[in-house]
Each structure stands twice: as structure tokens, then as C-alpha cells.
Amino acid sequence: MTPAPTPEQGPAAADGAWIFPLREATVTTRAALVTGATALSLVLLGVLATLSVILCVTRPGSIVWWVPLVLLPLAGCCVAAWRWEPIPVGGYVAIGVVVAASLVALTVGAAGSPAQAPAGTASFLLSMTTNVAVLIGATSDRWTGGIAGALGGYAVGEGAIVVTAAIVGLPYRLDLPPIAIAVGVAVGYAFFPLARRRARRGTALLDDADRRTRARRLRELEGRESIALLHDTLLGELAALARRDPGPLTEADRVRLATSLESSAMLPLLRDKTEPTPDGVAARLVAIGAAGGIRLRLEGDLAALDTMPEPAGAALRSALEQCVVNVARHSGVAEAWLAVAASPGRVDVTLVDEGVGFDPDAVPHDRLGLSESVHGRIERCGGSARVWSSPGAGTSVHLSVPAGG
């Protein structure tokens, strides 16, 4: 017999949260790329501003003093491209104009800075700001996913630099990094949907597996619960009838048979219903014991049995009833002891008899009383059940269940 399934709820429970749908992945990846590109651009501009300030301070005259100020509008464009949603046509024009104007100003500044002019249009100031223009273009692109934006950003930035350099006499130098970045960003954006589609083609397979697993698991849990109930009701009745001496049925027999028939038809629904125990769980256990010829002696915090939260309360009640029935049927004695100990978050119950005992390892495979009606129920609600017994030495059953809800 396979071990009883453990609680269905928990952090590891399959609930589909581990499969991120393609549509969501597309939007999320785009948002992350845009945020990442903006962060990269802003840090790059910050580094440039810092270097410019350092040059102004340590080598006065090596770079024109207002260069750091020109970087501010570019930073503003980074933020606008990131946060402006949606960007109207006028917004694109405004961003393009500000980027171009900033690069025009920086080219003029580079031409007038001895620390930058020798490198011509490939100076670090112009090179890095062209990279930022590429990223602003890619970030603001809401139509082609960044492809046209990256190339457009490069065209605007490099165009502004080339034209201005020609006017102010700054020598033109081919600067490869911005070209590589523009092409790389465009190719990356173009490739992303393909890579994502390829990676996500297993989503349907995983979704189906997730759904089937959940259904199978619920079937297993509900099935085990109803096996335990069938064992305690119909199987018990049939066993009693098989042992019964011939003769008329008593009123109690009739009621029990009718109840078993009724409950067996409702098995899968019973778990949601809390069986009323008007006199308390302890009194019910005493009554069950008395019906089987057992005097049940009680001690400890019996009230804890009545205040247990569900479903642990129902599981504990049903398991205890089955334990008392087992004592009545198999122990061969007329007395048993039940002790309840409640602690914060847990209730422990011990049932002891000094009867004939048995070898728990020798219980036949097809006996469902201990495995399903006691162990299964208790373990399904997150508790534990232990049985100590040996032939001639009585039996002790210890049930421990969480009481924290």
C-alpha cells in the first residue's frame, strides 16, 4: 500500500504559478529591458559628468566648463523615453530635438576642449553620448520593439555630431563602438521574440502537466479520504454482519445500517461538513467505547478536542473514533486510557490499552483501519501517527496534529 498523501496545501503545491505565460513574458521582458537600458544610460551619463567635473577642477581649461550641464537634458530624455506612456508624435519630435541639440552642444564643447579635440568625433565624450542616444531611441520605440529606435537614435546622434563637427572644424573619426551598439541592440531586439518563442514552446506542455497533476493529486487525496470513510462505515457494518448471530435487527442496528448507506452515497462531500458532536468529542468517544464494551478513562485537556480548527479537528476525531473501535474489536480488554495534551499550535492524544497487542509490522496488507483511517487521515492534515504494540503487551497509539489552523 502506498503511503498516504501529505497535505495538499503548502509552498510547494503546484498551482500554476511556476509557468509564466508567453503574453506576460513579452510585456515583462520589454519593461525590464527598458528599465535596464535607462539605468545603464543614466549611470553612463553620471560617469561622464563626474569625469568632466574632475577635468574642470584638476585641469582647468582642458574641457569647457558647461559640458556637465549639457548632459542633464540627455538624462531627462532617458527618463522621458522610459516613463512617458504613450509618447505622442510631438513627444518623439521633442526627444529627438533635445538629443540632437545636446550632441550639437557637446560637439562644440569637444572642439573647444584640448582634452577632447585631438580624438575628433571619436572622443570619449561624444562616443559615450552617442551610445546613450542609441539607448534613448531603443527605449522610446513603442512600435518596432526597439529595432528602429536604436538605429534612429544612432542616426540622430551621429548626424548631429558629423554636421556640427564639419561646421566647427572638429576632425571626423570613425567611431566603431556606437555603431556596434546600435546594430547589437537592434539585432538583439529583433532576435528576442524568436528566442522567447522557442523557449516558451513548452508552456502548453507544462501547463497541461500542471493541470493533470493537480487533478490527479486531488483525486488521490479525496479518494484516500473516502476509502477511510468506507472502511469505517460500510466495511465495518459488513464485518459486523458477518460475525453477527442470526436473528432480528435491533433498532440500533437499523439506524447504523441506514447511516452507513447514506454516508457512503455522500462520501466525497463529507469532508466539508463538520459532524455535530453536541456532547463533545470526549463524550462521543466514551459512547463509542461503551457500545463496544470498553470503559474509556479520560484525562488531560479534553476541551482541546472540541476547539480544534478544521480540517485537522475532523481528521483527529475520525481517527480517534477508529482507534477506539479497534480497541473494542481487537484488544480483548474492557478498559482503555485516553490522554490529551494541548500546547500552542499542536494537540497530542495518546490512547493506551493493556490488551492482547499485535505486531504492527505483521498487519496484513489489505487492512485499511490503521493505514487509511488513522495514519492517512492524520498525515493528510499535517500530523503524525505512531503505534507501539507487540503481542501480549498492549497497544499505545500517539496522534499529534497541528492546531494552528
Binding site: 503511503p3 504559478a17 549611470v43 566603431l176 497541461d208
Partner: protein
């Protein structure tokens, strides 16, 4: 919260997408290195040191590409650390190869290559770690660059040259961290927002399962046991024949219930199951779903499953035959590695070994 999760933990399939970019960025780093070396070859005076730097670049690329493979998921902090350490070693050897002759600091390829590899980690690692590693590496790169600039007698303050090499690395780290944090934040938000939908779906599955189960139980009971007991109720007495019949019906009902209790979920999914100790039932639900997905992917092959105790845990080995169509795709590999950390996946040898701790045990 969002800064400490990894995107790959929350979305294993996203890691599969990112694998392609690990290749692209590695190619970009190598191309950058070769292009800048060729363009500024006159600055390098030691070929052996340059070759060591290239070898280290190759090692960084290998670590990146291997760590990004779905069958080795998740991308660990050790891999990220190895990328930084090997990358910094490449920075050092490149600087040594042009010691005293590095006249164009912006042409140093090793810091740029490291920045590209740092960008890859944004897909896999938590934001805080990315920022910490990138910040520390930027300090080292800045120090190396300043020393090299000093040795080359460059005219501007060393800190300016340091900014040109360490700045892009820092910017790449910030971008990668922002990318990672945004992915994680949105993934967590999606989980929270869709929790209700998933609970509703679970309730609908539960209701369907209960209906099916109720029908099954009714047909089991109503076949013979129900009519027998009703007839007894009507008759109002028992005799020896009724006792015999009750025994027969009880045994039949017990056999049916025991057979159901003996069912193992994995039996339906594989052609052969070796699980004498009933260990399959100790897997949690997400693990079961991942195994179910793997078995579904291999459904047209004859797959066998073996469960045995290994150390303190349990090992499930899935083996499948050659041919028959279907394969263990990268997405399933990534999910298996995500759900069973440390599992060994060898599609070429047609087996996977999945170790897990017993659920509720």
C-alpha cells in the same frame, strides 16, 4: 524583496530564453576583443600575456555559456563570481601585455568584455548581487587602469582613464541589476494578481474530481452492497446466508479499496515503474508536475522510472529508449533543474537522475 530573488527562480523558461543571449553576448565580447586588438595592435608589446588574456576571455565565455544551459540551471552565484574573477584576470593580463604602451585606454577590450558578460547575469542573478559584484570589479578595473595610465605616462589624471574603463562596467552592472529587479518585481506581482484565478481554477478541478469520485463510489457501493443492506433493512433480520454474503461483499469491497490505495501516480506515466518502497508518493506537487511534463515530452518513447533511497533523500531515475519521437526539450530540462536542484540531466545518454527530499517525511 525583489532585489534578492532571481528571475530564473521565478520563471525557469525565461532562463531558457536568456541562454541565447549568453551566446550572443559571448560572441560580442570575443568580437570586441579581436576587433580592438587588431585595431590597436601597436599598443601590445607582449604576445604571451595577450594570449593568456584571450585564454581567460575564452574561459569567461565558457563559464557563461555553460552556466546558462538549461540542463545546468540555475545559474549560480559561484558562476557569476567566476565570471568576475576570470574577467578581472583578463583585465590584468591585457594591462600587463600593454604595460607602458597603453596610449588609448578606451581601446582596452577586457573591461568592455567583462561589462558584456555582466549584462548576461541580469537574466539569471539577483539585483543586489549583480550590483555588488559589478561595483567590486569596477574598483579593481579602475585601479588597474590607473596604474597602467601612470606607467604609460598619459597626460590626464589617472581617475579620468579609470572612469573610461570602470564606468561602462558600472553602467552595465546597474543596467543588469535594474533588468533583474524589474523582472522579479513584475513576476511577483503577476503571481499575487493571479492568485485568485488560480484558486478558482483549483476549486473547479476539485469540484470535478469530487463529482467523478462520487459517481465511482456510488457505482462501487450500489452494485451489490447497497441492495444487500437495503434488503436486510426491509427483512429486519439476519441469517447464516446473510452473514456469508456480508463476508463475501466485505472482502470484495476491501479488495477494491486496497487496489485503489495501492495505485501509484507515476504508473500511468511510464512504461515501467520500479518503486518497491512506494517512494513516488513522497514527491511534492510541483515535483510531480515537472516529472509529468518530462514523461509527457517522452511519451512516444518507452520510458522507465526507478525510485530508490540515495543518501538521506530519494533518487528518481528516468530512462528512455532511442527513437520513437519526442525529446526532453530545454524548457523541460530547465524546469526539472529548477524543481530538483542538482539533478543530473543527460539527454544524450537518455537518462535523468532527480534527487529530492521526501515530502512530509
Amino acid at each position: 524583496m525583489a532585489l534578492r530573488h532571481t528571475p530564473q527562480q521565478l520563471d525557469p523558461l525565461g532562463g531558457v530564453t536568456a541562454q541565447s543571449f549568453a551566446w550572443i553576448f559571448t560572441f560580442g565580447a570575443v568580437a570586441t576583443a579581436v576587433g580592438l586588438t587588431v585595431g590597436h595592435r601597436e599598443e601590445y608589446r607582449s604576445l604571451p600575456l595577450l594570449l593568456v588574456a584571450f585564454a581567460l576571455l575564452g574561459a569567461v565565455g565558457a563559464v557563461t555559456v555553460l552556466a546558462a544551459r538549461p540542463r545546468r540551471a540555475p545559474f549560480t552565484w559561484r558562476s557569476a563570481l567566476a565570471i568576475h574573477l576570470l574577467g578581472l584576470a583578463a583585465v590584468g593580463f591585457e594591462a600587463a601585455a600593454q604595460w607602458g604602451t597603453d596610449t588609448a585606454v578606451r581601446s582596452d577590450w577586457a573591461p568592455l568584455a567583462l561589462a558584456l558578460f555582466v549584462m548576461v547575469t541580469g537574466c539569471f542573478r539577483p539585483a543586489v548581487e549583480i550590483l555588488a559584484f559589478a561595483g567590486a570589479s569596477a574598483v579593481v578595473v579602475a585601479a588597474v587602469t590607473m596604474a597602467g595610465a601612470e606607467a604609460a605616462g598619459l597626460p590626464l589624471p589617472g581617475i579620468v582613464y579609470a572612469g573610461l574603463t570602470a564606468g561602462p562596467l558600472l553602467a552595465a552592472g546597474s543596467g543588469a541589476a535594474a533588468f533583474s529587479a524589474t523582472l522579479v518585481r513584475r513576476l511577483l506581482r503577476w503571481r499575487t494578481q493571479t492568485e485568485g484565478v488560480r484558486l478558482t481554477a483549483a476549486e473547479s478541478i476539485r469540484a470535478r474530481v469530487r463529482d467523478d469520485l462520487r459517481d465511482e463510489r456510488l457505482s462501487l457501493v450500489e452494485g451489490e452492497v447497497g441492495p444487500f443492506l437495503r434488503e436486510l433493512l426491509v427483512r429486519g433480520e439476519t441469517d447464516a446466508a446473510a452473514a456469508g454474503r456480508a463476508r463475501e461483499l466485505g472482502e470484495a469491497l476491501r479488495r477494491a479499496l486496497v487496489a485503489e490505495a495501492d495505485e501509484v501516480w507515476l504508473e500511468d506515466l511510464v512504461a515501467e515503474l520500479h518503486d518497491p518502497a512506494g517512494l513516488a508518493s513522497r514527491m511534492d506537487e510541483t515535483q510531480r508536475a515537472a516529472v509529468e511534463a518530462a514523461c509527457a515530452a517522452l511519451s512516444r518513447r518507452r520510458t522507465s522510472a526507478t525510485l530508490e533511497r540515495a543518501g538521506g533523500g530519494i533518487r528518481l531515475t528516468l530512462r528512455w529508449q532511442r527513437g520513437g519521437g519526442g525529446r526532453l526539450g530545454p524548457e523541460v530540462q530547465a524546469v526539472l533543474r529548477s524543481v530538483f536542484p542538482g539533478s543530473r540531466i543527460r539527454p544524450g545518454s537518455r537518462f535523468v537522475e532527480l534527487d529530492f527530499e521526501p515530502d512530509g517525511g
